[in-house]
């Protein structure tokens, strides 16, 4: 190109500049981003597109529609697990990782109540423990574990907690709630 590298005859502290044209690919890139932006604005900016809240709601509805039906173990199934040592061992792992910081590793109670006595604040049957673990008791600071743990983990920890009854660890918290003989 004949236009290339023609010096402009000005000089700033010895610095000179060429009169080179804008690189063509650069001009094309600039126009491309401008065209993209205009098109995008008409799609989303002024409301022809769905918008973020509508997108979110659609996403939630689609997930709900495709989610498998909740798989809640029946009291009989839980009772069957209560004698399965593998399940109990798995439950112990879940307990140590997630529950021990409030209920102490031996279940004797710390921030949360003692789980080894026969007094229960929210009911001591397998189904009731299962419900307390899943839904939590926000007013008492018990988080809902239904979202954090998988269904089989909740089952396992439920039967493990029930198995702690009568273990009488040292330094356990005083009994709270109703005594269930």
């Amino acid at each position: 190109m004949s236009e290339r590298d023609r010096l402009i005859d000005h000089n700033y502290d010895g610095i000179q500049e060429y009169d080179n044209p804008l690189p063509r690919w650069w001009v094309i890139l600039f126009w491309a981003t401008i065209v993209f932006s205009v098109l995008y604005w008409f799609n989303l900016g002024v409301g022809i597109g769905p918008g973020r809240i509508a997108q979110y709601e659609a996403e939630v509805a689609a997930a709900r529609a495709s989610a498998p039906p909740p798989d809640v173990s029946s009291p009989d199934e839980l009772a069957a697990m209560a004698t399965n040592t593998q399940v109990l061992e798995a439950g112990k792992q879940v307990f140590v990782t997630n529950c021990a910081s409030c209920h102490k590793p031996d279940g004797g109670g710390l921030i949360g109540p003692n789980l080894t006595d026969n007094a229960w604040i929210h009911g001591g049957t397998l189904a009731e423990i299962h419900k307390t673990v899943t839904e939590g008791v926000l007013a008492k600071g018990m988080p809902p574990w239904g979202k954090l743990l998988k269904p089989d983990q909740i089952d396992a920890v439920t039967v493990y907690v029930a198995s702690l009854k009568g273990t009488n660890p040292p330094g356990a918290k005083a009994a709270e709630g109703t005594v269930v003989p």
Partner: protein, 743 residues
């Protein structure tokens, strides 16, 4: 020397000297604060991998992270900018600085600000706005010193002896004007004590103003001044002409006008109105080409000189600086695209992006500039060229280790947050799992950052040794130049080059711009107008359109105790690691609950939405855990969660709450329009009563007695309130231990 554009041959020549003394001062300050800022960076990098290195109360991550960012941005890069501007402006305008007194005041004032920042940030004085953490007395000092700088600079332009101003000076003008506007309007606040203030904006508006400022701090503090420096020092070091004058004009004006709009891309999927988010994204996308204009003009200035790069460490630093600038200004537009941002936001990807730009573009350009300046300012040879080569290679390896590891960390965590398993549940519901996975990458980052610091220390040593070789007295060079004649004698619009005959041709050719270049005051005004007009397009609708922030009846102001707790949350810098903004994305609402609404933060002066989740979001934290859980968690997080990297805050359980001081804080909130109703006059009593209830709850559930007067109770009260109001709007949820009461 001695060219006399626009002056007749008979004009006498002025004889004068440049003020290099102030340039030398800024040079030393750059070297010193660079080492300090990077050292703090390495320390906080280690804290993330090894939390035991947090020393409460003063040296925890939450207080040191702002110290690191402020030190490297305003102390290291700031002094580098001033160093380069004072050196190049005098030479480009053929004039000594307007006033030696103002130059000195600028230098010492800026160092005083830095020292004040270094003291107040560890003490916990902060406005909780990123890169604008410094409290109001320091903000006023910054404004004063900046005005001194502006007067000194504009005064020099007025008394210049060069008719036209060069592109470097355009960039300096834009930076000086815009930083002043950004600083003043983002920091407007009402003091509630010597080092305590509340932003006059709340929630959505405060977030908008903060990221209008925050993004443009990147633009007008870390980009445009450095482009100006590049336009002076690159052709100087490469000893060749600048590639294209036309490209300079076009990329300057597009950059200045478009950068201002881009701020809202920091707030995608938040409660910011979607139109603002979209505008921010689109202007960011359109910024790609203008940014690359600067890179092209720099790199192509090296054409034909590539062989010099092999044995010149200065050019090596410059090439990596410009390449890094090109990479991060491609990545910026990419990250601003909403769907990409949904993955990257709140993760280390943003940190990687910031460092890929800062370590190369700002760091390497500064190193190059100072290696070039040192022999000239100290009037001797550089002490060791070999050490400069070593610095280059060590720092380059450091940058690579840093950004590769932190990119991996960001993408890893982002993908873990959004992963669902086959049953439609979150794959990693326990947040700490997504943190523990990053620890090896954090250690790699520590190695990379340490290498970069080692390079900076070699650099500092090399500069000091060069200084020690200076002559007994610096030679002061006499410069001669003709003063500008009072009347402008027309000269060719583009000397040496044909100018198109038609008006349209001259417009397209950008010949008209030459006229602006000889009127620096008009140039300054035009730049100011470009920046202000672009700002108002977004600011006015954000503040004036009511439907942007639909009110929620159940959202009430914080109780006096909760307000005091919120100030502790700010003091400890919790917002550096915890967001309070649940985005309308399914993986996010599954994890945290209902997405955040604009109406929820109407009383948040300042907003605390956060920008990084090193820990989980807290917007819905209220009522999820018992008071006792929080107490034990503050005293030792690892006792509750072995893999947590949160610092311990034992001092919260021993420091007393300043109950009497709460009244003044409530009063300021009332002044800002927060409806406290009749509670306005007995804030301390209300706070004591709520603290009593929480203290009793702690004692009765197995904590200690006597905590009702301690700071931890106020902070627990605040955390137990988060997200409670919006739940109360739909269903009654009892809150734990007397927290969440109404004022």
């Amino acid at each position: 020397m001695g060219e006399a554009h626009g002056a007749s041959a008979s004009t006498r020549l002025d004889t004068f000297q440049y003020d290099d003394d102030v340039v030398r001062k800024f040079l030393f300050a750059t070297v010193l604060w660079g080492a300090v800022g990077m050292l703090v960076g390495v320390l906080i990098a280690i804290q993330m991998a090894y939390p035991a290195l947090n020393f409460a109360p003063y040296l925890t991550f939450g207080r040191l992270r702002p110290l690191h960012t402020n030190a490297v941005i305003f102390a290291f890069a700031g002094n580098a900018i001033f160093c380069g501007i004072y050196y190049s402006t005098q030479r480009l305008l053929k004039a000594r600085m307007f006033s030696d007194g103002l130059s000195k005041a600028h230098f010492w004032g800026w160092q005083l600000i830095i020292v004040a920042a270094a003291l107040t940030l560890p003490l916990g004085f902060t406005q909780a706005k990123e890169y604008a953490e410094l409290e109001w007395p320091i903000d006023i000092m910054i404004a004063v010193v900046w005005v001194i700088f502006a007067i000194n600079f504009i005064g020099t332009m007025v008394k210049r002896r060069e008719r036209h101003i060069y592109v470097a000076v355009w960039f300096y003008v834009a930076s000086i004007i815009t930083v002043a506007i950004l600083h003043i309007f983002n920091n407007l606040s009402i003091p509630a004590g010597a080092f305590k203030s509340y932003s006059i904006y709340a929630g959505v508006q405060d977030a908008f103003m903060q990221w209008w400022y925050g993004h443009n701090a990147v633009a007008f503090f870390l980009t445009t001044p450095f482009l100006g420096l590049m336009y002076y020092f690159m052709p100087k070091a490469a000893e060749g002409p600048v590639f294209s004058y036309k490209l300079s004009i076009l990329h300057f004006w597009t950059l200045v006008f478009m950068y201002i709009w881009a701020g809202p891309h920091h707030l995608h999927y938040t409660s910011l109105p979607e139109w603002a988010s979209t505008v921010g994204m689109l202007f960011s996308v359109m910024l790609w080409a203008p940014s690359w204009g600067g890179m092209i003009n720099g790199l192509l200035t090296l054409r034909g000189g590539w062989h010099k790069v092999v044995d010149d460490p200065i050019l090596k630093f410059m090439v990596i600086a410009l390449t890094g600038y090109g990479m991060s200004t491609f990545e910026g537009p990419m990250l601003s695209i909403k769907s990409v941002n949904a993955l990257s936001h709140y993760t280390d990807w943003t940190i990687a992006h910031a460092h890929s730009g800062a370590l190369t573009w700002n760091g390497f350009l500064t190193f190059a500039m100072i290696y070039w300046l040192a022999p000239r300012l100290f009037q001797t040879q550089l002490y060791s060229k070999k050490a400069a080569e070593w610095h280059f290679w060590i720092a380059t390896v450091g940058v690579l280790l840093y950004i590769v590891s932190i990119y991996s960390a960001g993408v890893t965590q982002g993908l873990m947050w959004r992963a669902f398993d086959e049953t439609g549940r979150l794959q990693y519901p326990d947040f700490v799992e997504t943190v523990a996975r990053l620890i090896p990458m954090y250690w790699t980052r520590v190695i990379g950052g340490t290498l970069y610091l080692v390079g900076a220390l070699i650099f500092a040593w090399n500069i000091v040794m060069t200084w020690r070789r200076r002559p007994a007295a610096y030679a002061v060079h006499e410069v001669q130049a003709a003063p500008l004649s009072p009347t402008y004698v027309p000269e060719p619009m583009r000397p040496g080059v044909d100018v198109p005959a038609t008006a349209w041709g001259r417009f397209v050719n950008m010949t008209f711009h030459r006229t602006w270049e000889r009127m620096p005051i008009l140039f300054t005004v035009l730049t100011t107008v470009a920046v202000i007009v672009a700002s108002l397009f977004e600011i006015l609708p954000t503040f004036l359109i009511k439907s942007n922030v639909p009110t929620i009846a159940s959202v009430k102001p914080y109780t006096p105790l909760e307000l005091a707790g919120r100030d502790l949350y700010i003091r400890e810098g919790c917002f550096n690691c915890h967001s309070q903004m649940v985005r309308p994305l399914r993986f996010e609402t599954e994890r945290y609950g209902e997405y955040s609404k604009p109406g929820e933060s109407v009383y948040d002066h300042p907003f605390l939405w956060g920008s990084r989740r090193i820990g989980p979001d807290l917007a819905r934290e209220g009522g999820l855990k018992s008071n006792l859980w929080h107490l034990r968690h503050f005293e030792n997080p690892r006792e509750i969660n072995a893999r947590s990297i949160m610092p311990a805050y034992p001092h919260l359980s021993t420091n007393d709450v300043d109950f009497a001081g709460i009244q003044r804080r409530v009063d300021v909130m009332v002044m800002l329009g927060v409806p406290y109703g009749e509670g306005v006059n007995n804030a301390p009593e209300q706070a004591r009563a709520q603290a009593q209830a929480i203290g009793q709850d702690l004692a009765s559930t197995g904590g200690r007695t006597g905590l009702e007067s301690k700071e931890v109770v106020a902070l627990i009260a605040y955390l137990q309130r988060l997200g409670v109001d919006i739940r109360a709007g739909s269903a009654k949820v009892a809150s734990a231990g007397g927290a969440g009461g109404q004022p």
